[in-house]
Amino acid sequence: MPRLSYRRALTRALGDELARDDAVFLLGEDVQVGASLVTTGLAKRFGTERVRDTPLSEQAFTSFATGAALAGLRPVIEFQIPSLLFLVFEQIVNHAHKFPLMTGGQCRVPVTYLVPGSGSRTGWAGQHSDHPYSLFAHVGVVTVVPATPADAYGLLVTAIRHDDPVVVFAPAGAMDVRDDVDDLAPVPLGRGRIHRFGEDVTVVAIGHLVHDALAVAEELADQVSVEVFDPRTLYPFDIDGLTESVARTGRLVVFDDGNRSCGMAAEIIASVVERVRLLAPPRRVTRPDGAVLPFAPALDRAVQPGRDQLATAIHLTVKDGP
């Protein structure tokens, strides 16, 4: 079986869609050279008209993409840094996302916002290490955070073909994951995936944390049977799939690389407890409230949700129950 890295899976998805559909084009900063190592080779293959380097004008090129989408194209924007999403939040939310409703269904805005290297990159400090996926879920922009190479390929392809804006977070912590992949295929939005079946507790893990959750589940295997649920899409969220899992295990822990207050973990827990009577109070392992990642590596790690914290949360929720 061929081995594929997460990063190359993104490259292949971009290449396949550029080849398949002439309406697709790519724009962003340093994409022709491929500074993110994701767009490598695409400018040579598809030309600099369709793989466009932009000046450092994030707000303008984000709205440029909105205009191009209104005119029938399918732009993909690469943002080098997750924090740039704060700068273009207005352009995505107030324009791209709102146009279909505000025009009474006269248009569609199929833009993909790809963020390779979201979350901590270790040592990139306060302004390069955010993971603001919950903001997009909150405003109702389709938000995906693939964990594996196959899902990175499949969800990016789906995002590009989707008729509404989609933000694709590709966590730095997952970029070097390699996997055996047989056949690559589009992955539907809003469909979670159970990576490991278990009986005692469901752990919802987002993005690169799926791999940490699987490691913790393996470590604890002789004490507790952990099910690892990967939502893959945060908005729309596969609440039916998760409800089915939690209805079996009766316990829920959410492992989320976002800030605690108003984060995805809070939303996931609320959505589950509206539907399922749990055996024990649910728990969440997240970044702290208002987290700013400090520079020094030990501090950077201290602010990110960690495996030890997850193991503790799993033990506590199992102990709390009957």
């Binding site: 709205s63 205009g67 107030n94 279909p100 025009t103 006269q106």
Partner: protein, 324 residues
Amino acid sequence: MTDADPVRLYRTVRLIRRFEERAVELVHGGQIVGGIHPYLGQEGIAAGVCAALDADDVLAGTHRGHGHVLARGADPARMLAELCGRVTGLNAGRGGSMHAADLSIGVLGANAIVGASGAIITGAVWAHRRRGRDTVGVSFFGDGAVNEGMLLEAFNLAALWRVPVLFVCENNGYATTMPVAGAVAGSIAGRAAAFDIPAVQVDGQDPETVRVAARAAVDRMRAGGGPELIEARTYRFDVHHTFEHAVRLDDYRPPDEVSRGRARDPVRIQGERLTDTDRAAVDAEVEATLDEAVRFALNSPEPDPADALTYLYASGLAARTGGG
């Protein structure tokens, strides 16, 4: 060119003028909720610019956007229905005054975020041209927008990639209540010059002057030129927003300035170029059109609250509802 037809130009400014006056009445009568930003006094700009456009061209406007939509040729009845929040409106009652759009005629929408239209139009024009069309675009904005970074970024992008966008600054002297002198360092034309964008200042109160400037710019752009800027000096005859009819703000415009400004009326200026007979015929035709528009709007059904989020997603994605 047919766009030099003075009767046609008069008809457009007269239509916008009377549309806005009728709309203000409907605001006062409670049939239009949320108020409007009347385009009164600025009609010559939208009329002059849109007279120079072809069918494949696109434009986007501002919160003071009725004039742009009407001058481009949107149906006044459906436009008024939109302002009244009816299902028959251009946007099926989902957009209202500040978001009126008619993509079938290249109106990508009034846009209520100041300075937002420049980059959107740049992208749309670039995309149409990539698909082999001869499209040019117009981005309308007010003097307040020239201090928005997003618009200046759009100037740079359009100039850099030679995207034929006509940037039209409607300089009515005030960003809401802030006078240009209190807000703009340097000049508006100077901002264009910084990006090597050709710029002209024109008398925005004369529709024909605006049309001639727009025609020249559009011709140069269609012949392969990059973006251009027109600064149209104008005056807003009425309030920034109709809330000022109910809540009196301190005089931020000196009364003698207002009377001087109102003395230069684009509808009168263009009307004087017609014979009395022609002018009376146009006035009657416009009145009949608007009588019918008001009837149509007020007799149209209101949207069903059950459909409040229809159109939220073009993909058909269903959002969870907010109830318990």
